[in-house]
Amino acid sequence: MASSIPSGAPGSREKKYDRQLRLWGANGQNKLETAHIALFNASATGCEILKNLILPCIGQFTVIDDKLVEEADLGVNFFLDEDSLGKPRAERAAALLGELNPDVMGNYIIDNFSNLLSTKPELFEPLTTPFTHFVLVSPFPTPLLLLLPPEIPTFLVYSLGFTTSLRVSAPIHTIVETHPDSLTDLRLLNPWSELSSMATERTTNLEIQQKVDGDGGMSDHEHGHVPYLILLLKYLEDWKQSHGGNYPATYKEKGEFKVLIQDNMRTNVPGGSEENYEEAIAAVLKNVREAEVSSETKEVLNDTKCANLTLETDNFWIIARAVKDFLENPEQGNGLLPLSGGIPDMKAESNGYVDLQNVYKYKARYDASLVEKNVRTILSSLNRDPSSIPLDEIELFCRHSNFLRRILYRPLPAEFSTLPDEHHKKAVCAALSSWDADTSLIHDYIALRAYQSFVTETDGRAPGDTDETLEVDTAEMTRLAELYLKEVGWSTGLGERGKNMIREVVRTGGGELHNIASLAGGIVAQEVIKIITQQYVPVNNTIVFDGISSRTGTYEL
């Protein structure tokens, strides 16, 4: 029977989302499509954020806003039009945003955060809320911020004139697919038996020049196609023999090791050198090293979540625990993580390469099967269905086991309470005393903190919203900023940039610039996507952008 070739052609969804599936795959897309984002404040910035989430296809969105559309909105918000004038912003924004993608369900609530908190508290209870993520575009008085449920990832956004900032807060965030440049782990100094035997077998006649076909020597052609990994393994073994059983460790020794390889290259060949030997030499510094567990992965494996598993524990922590058991078990990893299994492309003949690739692939599969066994045992002990975590998920985790991340987001109250915690104080003071303090964007943050206090005092009125109050508001903003600095224990007071930033914020009168709103929309959407898909590494926890100098600063506040 002739085997038929699958058509493989993509379906309509794959076609439409092709350019993003190449970044986060079906895994990420599935997560995206189950998200329901609540946007509080249908400002230009808020609508731009949603636009960038609706296009790639989140599941649902809900716009929450109690204002009516005014003339001023039209000049800055693309998702309100002339027909919208006088109508509720939430309704009109939801309608115009909804047109962007028929695959996404749009909703709106004509109300405000503060009201909803008392009339519909279920919207803010983790167990009853339909929302998976909150996006808030300021102003909101501080007491409200402190009432947000810490279980729901929240994105707090400021967009004032040329300045914008984002604060991310979320429950413990874990990432398997961090997308590092390469997952490759070659284990040259920790070869397992199949790899060592392959290296020995492939190099028995490496040094013998073939004179005639079948004389047992190695032809130039063959010699020039021995994969460089095999060459490195062979010459590392040779080195060990002549160096008391030790591998080259220092920079100097690695240099000598390169010379050893160089000396064994055949030069009496077309071109005068062999590419595979050159590749081997080039790989020495980067790849001749002990396999180590990265500090990020150690953080994950040493987290108490790994130790205290319950019926409710996420798959991530269960697999992490299984990997930790693998690592520590002398019969399993014996100090090494499960192998990722990939190798880079290298000069070699097709067969030779594929065989070598298979040695890595099989070992990775074997390691993952041991981790799988550990996972099944753990699940049984927790009275969970032992097959409830699919092998695919375990294998994906194993491939990425040296690149895991967990981020502990600081809760909003730690930053916004009247008395911020020690970490916050230290972080702000450190930024204010760093070498680049004069130009640091921490001053922009301080101005935004003063703005936050101001809108809390005035119940939402922005400083500088009328010309008459400009001077008074500047004075009040300055006072609030100084007060905040005192709270964090910074005694030197507001610097030059700080004062300028206060003036800049007051000058905007709470107004948005479309370009900055749009830019904020992009930054926030990127971070929301990273949190939802649990891929790539989101910012921890604050990013500030200054549109005058076109710079960003990130801080953990």
């Binding site: 070739i5 058509s7 493989g8 052609a9 993509p10 309509s12 794959e14 076609k15 439409k16 092709d18 350019r19 993003q20 599936l21 190449r22 970044l23 731009e48 636009k51 960038n52 296009l55 790639p56 296809c57 039209l74 800055v76 693309f78 002339e82 047109e99 962007l100 993608n101 040329f162 961090t178 997308h179 492309d345 003949e349 097709s350 067969n351 390469y353 594929v354 610039l513 479309h514 370009n515 749009s518 830019l519 929309g521 992009g522 930054i523 959407a525 990127q526 971070e527 996507i529 790539y536 590494v537 989101p538 910012v539 549109g547 005058i548 100098s549 076109s550 710079r551 960003t552 990130t554």
Partner: protein, 379 residues
């Protein structure tokens, strides 16, 4: 205001310019809308697939934002000459090809006329890839231009032709074999159309067959498409960041409200957020902006030969065996023999019969590392 490109960056840029108060915008794009654009090019809908991007984008934004006039042009930027570009105050680009960027950059650099302030058109350029992107401000002839920074581009890693032909190891090798070697072998002169699903399907099947023959796994339709079309992943959010940055700079330049970007910002969003804002330096001997024409006074009655002799006397140019051309004709070729024979008779002709006063003569010579451009002015 001219905007070139109405794709991922272009849609954003058009919206941003309209809402920044620009009233008269021209937009150029030669592409039509494809279904794979819809995940980010938010001015287009399913029903627009197949229509010209520039036209649909212009209509949408004019309908949404009152009082803005947008003139679309469905065609290539290369269709237009300096006269066309001269009418704009500033050019802002969201292009997807290096070639188009180089062209617009060179055109704007060449347009700079020291006698005419209007001839200097700031060029703002943006580009994205996945979660990363960059925006930059180019002031033609005053600072680093696009050509100056070409070295920063990471070249697409090419695999030796012989690897494709005889020792493939990766799925991509099988795909490239199918498109570079097998297609022309089997199809002869029939041109491969990367946008034709039937062609991609053919390549995919051939690549899959070859991968099986060599026990290579991983060839998929999507990968075939990616390799053949050199697809760069693109998302709405990154485009929003870069386009907004470009428009923010445009607004600052036009209103002189704040210092504009000097001159490059990189945005890297895949691991946390990292930006790098720096001044990219103008490159010595940049073939576009580091090599501006200088004036050279000559007599209209000189023969070309005489002109060359005078040039050789110039102490600051060490030329020995020069070749001279203008945009419209070869003046004199020092080699190879065929071209030398052809152009030799020009040596005895008078300059006025070969050139107009003020016309640019480009000179290459083994003694010059780059080339020399002279505006030859008859006195």
């Amino acid at each position: 205001m001219l905007q070139s490109g109405a794709g991922g960056l272009g849609c954003e840029i058009l919206k941003n310019l309209a809402l920044s108060g620009f009233k008269d915008i021209h937009v150029i794009d030669m592409d039509t809308i494809d279904v794979s654009n819809l995940n980010r090019q938010f001015l287009f809908r399913q029903a627009d697939v197949g229509k010209p991007k520039a036209t649909v984008a212009a209509e949408f934004v004019m309908k949404r934002v009152k009082g803005v006039k947008i003139t679309p042009y469905y065609g290539a930027i290369q269709d237009k000459g300096p006269d066309y570009y001269m009418q704009f105050q500033l050019v802002i680009c969201g292009l997807d090809s290096v070639e188009a960027r180089r062209w617009i950059n060179a055109t704007l650099v060449e347009m700079v006329d020291p006698q005419n302030p209007e001839s200097l058109k700031p060029l703002i350029d943006g580009g994205t890839e996945g979660f990363k992107g960059q925006s930059r401000v180019i002031l033609p002839t005053l600072g680093s231009c696009y050509e100056c920074s070409l070295d920063m581009l990471t070249p697409r890693t090419a695999v030796p032709m012989c690897t494709l032909a005889s020792i493939p190891r990766q799925p991509a090798h099988c795909i490239e074999w199918a498109s570079i070697l097998e297609w022309p072998r089997v199809m002869g002169d029939k041109k491969l159309d990367n946008d034709d699903p039937e062609h991609i399907q053919w390549l995919y099947e051939k690549a899959l067959e070859r991968a099986r023959e060599f026990n290579i796994s991983g060839v998929t339709y999507s990968m075939t498409q990616g390799v053949v079309k050199n697809i760069i992943p693109a998302i709405a959010s990154t485009n929003a960041i870069i386009a907004a940055s470009c428009c923010n700079e445009a607004l600052k330049i036009v209103t002189s409200s704040n210092p504009y970007l000097n001159n490059y910002m990189m945005y890297i969003g895949d691991e946390g957020v990292y930006t790098h804002t720096f001044a990219h330096e103008q490159k010595d001997g940049c073939p576009v902006c580091g090599n501006m024409a200088t004036d050279f006074h000559a007599k209209a009655d000189w023969t070309l030969d005489e002109f060359i002799e005078r040039l050789k006397e110039k102490p600051d140019v060490q030329i020995k065996k020069p070749t001279l051309t203008t945009e419209r004709r070869k003046l004199y070729y020092a080699g190879p023999p065929q071209l030398n024979e052809l152009t030799k008779p020009n040596l005895d002709k008078r300059l006025k019969d070969l050139l107009d006063s003020g016309e640019e003569v480009a000179i290459t010579d083994p003694g010059l590392p780059f080339s020399l451009r002279l505006n030859v002015i008859f006195s």
